[in-house]
C-alpha cells in the first residue's frame, strides 16, 4: 500500500520533471546550428530552395517556435513522439526497437560491475594492508583511469582480430538465422566484449566505494558488539559490515544505472551495438529533433524509473526509512 502510494506520487513528480526536460531540451536543440532540412538536403549532395522549403514545411519547421513546441508537447501528452525526419519512421517505433538492445547491454554491464565490484571491494576491504588487497585496488584504479573507448578498441584488436574468440561488433550474426537458444547464445557471445568493457569502469567505481564503505562500517560500534558475541570474522564481514556498507552503494548504483544509458554511447559506437545511445548521437548529428527529443525523454524517464527503483530497494534494505515515513 505504502509502496503503491509512494510510486504514484513519485510518478506524478516524474511527469513534471519530464515535462520540464522536454521543454528544456526542445529549446536547447533549437540553439544548435543547422536544421534537419539542410542536413537532409546536404546528404543528397544537391538541393534547391524548393527542396528545403518542402522539407521544412513537411517537418513543421516553418512554424513559429512556440507553435512547434506546443505541437510537440501536446503530442507527447498522447504518447505521440512524432516522426523521425531522417529515418522516416515514427520516433516511438525507432526507440522501442533500439531500447531493448541498450537495456540488455547496460543491464548486463550494470549487474556485472555491481557484483564484481562488490566482491572485489569486500575482498580488498578484508585484505587491507595485504599485497593482495593493494593489488585489487591498484587494478580498480587503473580500470577507472583508462579511457573506456581505448579499452574497447584494444579489446576488439585482442579478442576479435588476433585471438578470434569473440565477435567484434553487432548484436547477432547476420544471416545465420539463429532462433531460440542458438540466438540467445549468439547474442550472449556478441554481448561479452561490449558489456565487459562498459562494466570495467563502473566495476572500478564500485570496488573502491565498497572498500571505503566497508572500512567505515567496520569502525562502527555494532561491529564491536558483534565481535563481543564471538562471531567469526567472516560472519561479521558479511552480515554486519557488508550489509551496512551496501546502503551508500545502493544510492550510487541507482545514480549510475541511469547514467549508463548515456554512458553507453561510446561502447555502442565502437561495438556497433544497435542501441539507443548510438541512435542519439546520430540523431544529434543529423539534427533529427524529434528523434533526439524522444531519446532524451526516454533516457530521462529511465533515470527516473531507476531512481524510484533505487528508493524502493533502499527501503527494503534499510528498515529505518520505512518507519520514518
Amino acid at each position: 500500500m505504502l509502496y503503491a502510494r509512494l510510486i504514484v506520487m513519485r510518478l506524478l513528480k516524474a511527469v513534471v520533471v519530464l515535462f520540464l526536460i522536454v521543454i528544456f531540451n526542445f529549446v536547447l536543440i533549437q540553439l544548435a546550428p543547422g536544421d534537419p532540412a539542410s542536413i537532409l538536403a546536404g546528404e543528397a549532395g544537391a538541393t534547391d530552395e524548393e527542396f528545403l522549403r518542402q522539407l521544412r514545411e513537411r517537418f513543421g519547421l516553418d512554424q513559429p517556435l512556440y507553435v512547434q513546441l506546443w505541437h510537440y508537447v501536446s503530442g507527447i501528452a498522447t504518447l505521440d513522439f512524432g516522426w523521425s525526419y531522417r529515418q522516416g519512421m515514427p520516433v516511438l517505433d525507432l526507440i522501442l526497437a533500439r531500447l531493448p538492445a541498450t537495456l540488455l547491454l547496460t543491464g548486463t554491464a550494470f549487474v556485472l560491475s555491481l557484483v564484481l565490484g562488490i566482491v572485489a571491494g569486500s575482498m580488498a576491504a578484508a585484505r587491507v594492508k595485504k599485497p593482495s588487497g593493494s593489488l585489487i585496488m591498484a587494478l580498480a584504479l587503473i580500470f577507472y583511469a583508462t579511457p573506456l573507448f581505448w579499452v574497447a578498441l584494444m579489446a576488439v584488436v585482442l579478442f576479435s582480430v588476433y585471438l578470434d574468440w569473440l565477435p567484434a561488433y553487432g548484436m547477432y550474426t547476420v544471416g545465420a538465422g539463429h532462433t531460440g537458444l542458438a540466438l540467445m547464445l549468439d547474442v550472449a557471445k556478441h554481448l561479452v566484449l561490449p558489456a565487459t568493457t562498459l562494466a570495467l569502469f563502473f566495476m572500478a567505481i564500485y570496488t573502491r566505494m565498497t572498500r571505503a564503505s566497508m572500512l567505515e562500517a567496520s569502525q562502527q560500534d555494532y561491529v564491536k558488539t558483534a565481535r563481543a558475541k564471538g562471531l567469526s570474522p567472516r560472519v561479521i564481514q558479511r552480515r554486519h559490515i557488508l550489509r551496512n556498507a551496501l546502503l551508500p552503494i545502493i544510492t550510487l548504483a541507482g545514480l549510475q544505472a541511469g547514467q549508463m544509458v548515456g554512458g553507453a554511447i561510446l561502447t555502442e559506437t565502437v561495438f556497433a551495438w544497435p542501441g539507443i545511445g548510438r541512435l542519439m548521437f546520430e540523431a544529434l548529428q543529423q539534427r533529427d529533433y524529434n528523434l533526439l527529443l524522444g531519446i532524451f525523454f526516454f533516457s530521462a524517464a529511465l533515470v527516473i524509473v531507476f531512481n524510484i527503483v533505487t528508493d524502493l530497494v533502499y527501503r527494503l534494505a534499510d528498515p529505518r526509512i520505512k518507519e520514518a515515513s
Binding site: A44, T47, V156
Partner: protein, 518 residues
C-alpha cells in the same frame, strides 16, 4: 612526387578484373557488405544521398546505365534516338519488365516518375527537367522527351540515382512521402527489398523475375550497419563482410586491408560521380576576396603530400576546375605547384596583415580532419593566421549556407558533364544563401556566366569545348575556389567476388552482375 606502390597495384588489379570476365559465372551465395552511414530511407528519387543510392541502386533502375567511360548502356530503355536539333529524345522501353509487386512496367511509369514524382521531390532531377518542355508516352513502351533548347548533358542524366523509375500504380494520387510503400520499396531492379533491422542490417534478396535472363547470380545482399570505422575494418578482416564499398573504411586502413590474402581493390566505379574535393574561399570579404590571396593558398598547399599521406596515393591532383576525366578539360594551363615562396610573395604583394582566417574542415571523418590540419599547417608556414573552426554536419551546412567562413573544405560530384557538376559552383545566378552546394564562394564573373550558358546549350560538342576552354582559363587565373583533389574512392573486396564493378556508378548497381567464385 612519390608514386605509391598501391596505386600501381590498383592499375594491375583493374587489368585482372577485366580479364576475369572470361570466367563462367557461378550462381548462388549471399554477399555481405557495409553501408555507411545508415541510409535515411530507401526510396530513390525521394532520397538521393549516397548510402541510399548504394543500397537502392540495386532495387531501383533508371532508363540508362553508364559504362566506366560514361557511355550510355541500355537498361530499362532498350534503345533511344536524338533528333538532329538536339531537342527531341525518344526512348524505347524494354518489354516484359515487372515491378517487384508483379505489375508491368510501362511508359506511363516513366512519364509519372519524371513529370510528377521527380518534379515534386527531386532537386537534382529538377535541375535537368527545367530544360524539358514535355514528356509524352506515345505508346506503352515509347517515351518522348521534348526540350525547350538543346541541353548537352541530357543523355547522361538518366542514371538510376538521379532519374529513378518509380511505380505509378503505387504513388499516383498519394502523399509520396507518407506512402506506406516507402517502408517496402518497389522497384524493377535485380534485388528486392527484404528487411531492414534498424541499426544492424538491410537485407536484399534476389528478384527471381528479373528481366535479364540468368541475372542476378547472387541470392541476396546483406548491408551491415557498423558505425565505427575501425570496427568496419575488423569486419572485413575477420571475414564477416566481403565487400567494402568506397568510403566505408578510413583511408589509413586501406593499405592493410588491401594487402590481405584474397583481397582486391579497385578505384573504378567513381567515374560518373568523380568526387572533386575543393576549398571554398569566400570571395566576398576579407583577405580571401583578393585573387592574390587565393592564388597564394593554392601555392601554399602541398596537395601531393595530402594525396600520398592521407589518400594512400589514390586520386589526382587537378590542374584546375575541370577534373581529369571531365569532358572538355583544358590541359594547357600552368599548374599551381607547391611553392611556399611564391605564396609568401603574393601575400606580401597584397599586403596581408595577419588577419585571422577561419578554416572549416569537412565533418565527414578523420581523413578530412587530418587534411584540414595539413592545410592549416601549410598556410601557417607561409604566414597565414589560420584558426580551424570545428563543426558537425549541421553547423557546417549552416555556416556555409550563411557564408560565414573564410576557407572551407567540401567535395562535389561532377555527374559526367560540366554543365551538371562543375559550372554550378561558379555561375553567379547560383549564388543564394541557405545552401552549401551552390556558388557558395560568391564568385561573380559575367563572362563566365555567358560562357557557361552558351556551352550548356551549344550543339554540337566541338562548340562546347571551345567555350569551356576559355572559361577554364579565366577560372584558373581567378581561383574562385581551391582545387584540392579528385578523390579516388577505392572499393575493397574479396578477390573471389567477380564482376563487381561494371559501371560508372560502381557499387550503386554492382550486385546485378556480381557472382561468387566459391
Amino acid at each position: 612526387m612519390r608514386k605509391t606502390p598501391l596505386a600501381a597495384a590498383i592499375a594491375a588489379l583493374a587489368f585482372t578484373t577485366t580479364f576475369a570476365l572470361a570466367d563462367e559465372p557461378k550462381r548462388g551465395g549471399t554477399i555481405d557488405t557495409i553501408i555507411q552511414p545508415e541510409p535515411p530511407g530507401l526510396v530513390l528519387g525521394m532520397v538521393q544521398n549516397d548510402p541510399t543510392r548504394k543500397v537502392a541502386g540495386n532495387i531501383y533502375e533508371g532508363l540508362l546505365r553508364y559504362s566506366t567511360d560514361l557511355e550510355p548502356i541500355p537498361q530499362l530503355a532498350e534503345s533511344w534516338e536524338v533528333s538532329d536539333d538536339g531537342l527531341t529524345y525518344t526512348f524505347h522501353l524494354r518489354e516484359g519488365v515487372l515491378w517487384h509487386d508483379g505489375e508491368p512496367f510501362t511508359a506511363e511509369d516513366v512519364v509519372f516518375s519524371a513529370d510528377v514524382f521527380h518534379r515534386e521531390l527531386n532537386p537534382s532531377a529538377r535541375a535537368v527537367l527545367q530544360h524539358v518542355e514535355s514528356i509524352e508516352a506515345t505508346d506503352d513502351h515509347t517515351v518522348v522527351f521534348t526540350l525547350a533548347e538543346p541541353f548537352g548533358p541530357f543523355l547522361i542524366s538518366f542514371e538510376a540515382g538521379t532519374f529513378t523509375m518509380v511505380p505509378k500504380h503505387i504513388y499516383e494520387g498519394t502523399d509520396f512521402r507518407d506512402n506506406e510503400a516507402n517502408n517496402h520499396p518497389i522497384g524493377t531492379g535485380p534485388f528486392k527489398f527484404d528487411s531492414w533491422d534498424r541499426g544492424t542490417v538491410i537485407q536484399l534478396v534476389r528478384n527471381d523475375d528479373y528481366y535479364e535472363e540468368g541475372l542476378p547470380y547472387l541470392d541476396g545482399v546483406n548491408w551491415h550497419i557498423i558505425p565505427d570505422g575501425a570496427s568496419r575494418a575488423v569486419a572485413f578482416e575477420n571475414g564477416t563482410v566481403d565487400v567494402l564499398p568506397n568510403g566505408t573504411v578510413e583511408n589509413f586502413d586501406i593499405p592493410r586491408l588491401s594487402a590481405m590474402d584474397n583481397s582486391c581493390i579497385t578505384d573504378k566505379g567513381n567515374e560518373y560521380f568523380s568526387p572533386f574535393a575543393m576549398l571554398w574561399m569566400n570571395n566576398r570579404e576579407g583577405p580571401t576576396a583578393d585573387k592574390r590571396f587565393r592564388q597564394a593558398v593554392m601555392y601554399a598547399m602541398n596537395r601531393e603530400f595530402a594525396r600520398d599521406v592521407l589518400w594512400n596515393g589514390m586520386g589526382q591532383v587537378p590542374l584546375s576546375a575541370f577534373g581529369s576525366n571531365a569532358k572538355f578539360r583544358h590541359d594547357g594551363l600552368e599548374p599551381y605547384d607547391h611553392d611556399p615562396e611564391r605564396a609568401r610573395e603574393l601575400l606580401e604583394e597584397m599586403g596581408y596583415d595577419g588577419e585571422e582566417i577561419r578554416l572549416l574542415p569537412l565533418p565527414y571523418g578523420e581523413t578530412w580532419n587530418r587534411w584540414a590540419e595539413a592545410v592549416q599547417q601549410n598556410l601557417r608556414e607561409v604566414g597565414v593566421n589560420v584558426r580551424t573552426v570545428a563543426t558537425d554536419v549541421g553547423g557546417w551546412n549552416q555556416r556555409l549556407g550563411d557564408w560565414d567562413y573564410d576557407l572551407a573544405f567540401t567535395y562535389l560530384y561532377q555527374y559526367g558533364d560540366p554543365a551538371l557538376g562543375i559550372t554550378r559552383s561558379y555561375r553567379s545566378d547560383n549564388i543564394e544563401k541557405g545552401s552549401p552546394w551552390n556558388n557558395v564562394e560568391g564568385y561573380e564573373n559575367e563572362r563566365i556566366d555567358e560562357l557557361f550558358d552558351e556551352a550548356a546549350t551549344a550543339y554540337p560538342e566541338e562548340e562546347r569545348e571551345a567555350l569551356y576552354h576559355e572559361a577554364q582559363e579565366i577560372l584558373h587565373e581567378d581561383v574562385p575556389v581551391g582545387w584540392l583533389m579528385e578523390l579516388g574512392f577505392p572499393t575493397i573486396y574479396r578477390c573471389d567476388v567477380k564482376d563487381l564493378i561494371t559501371s560508372g556508378v560502381g557499387i550503386n548497381d554492382a550486385f546485378r552482375d556480381a557472382w561468387l567464385d566459391r
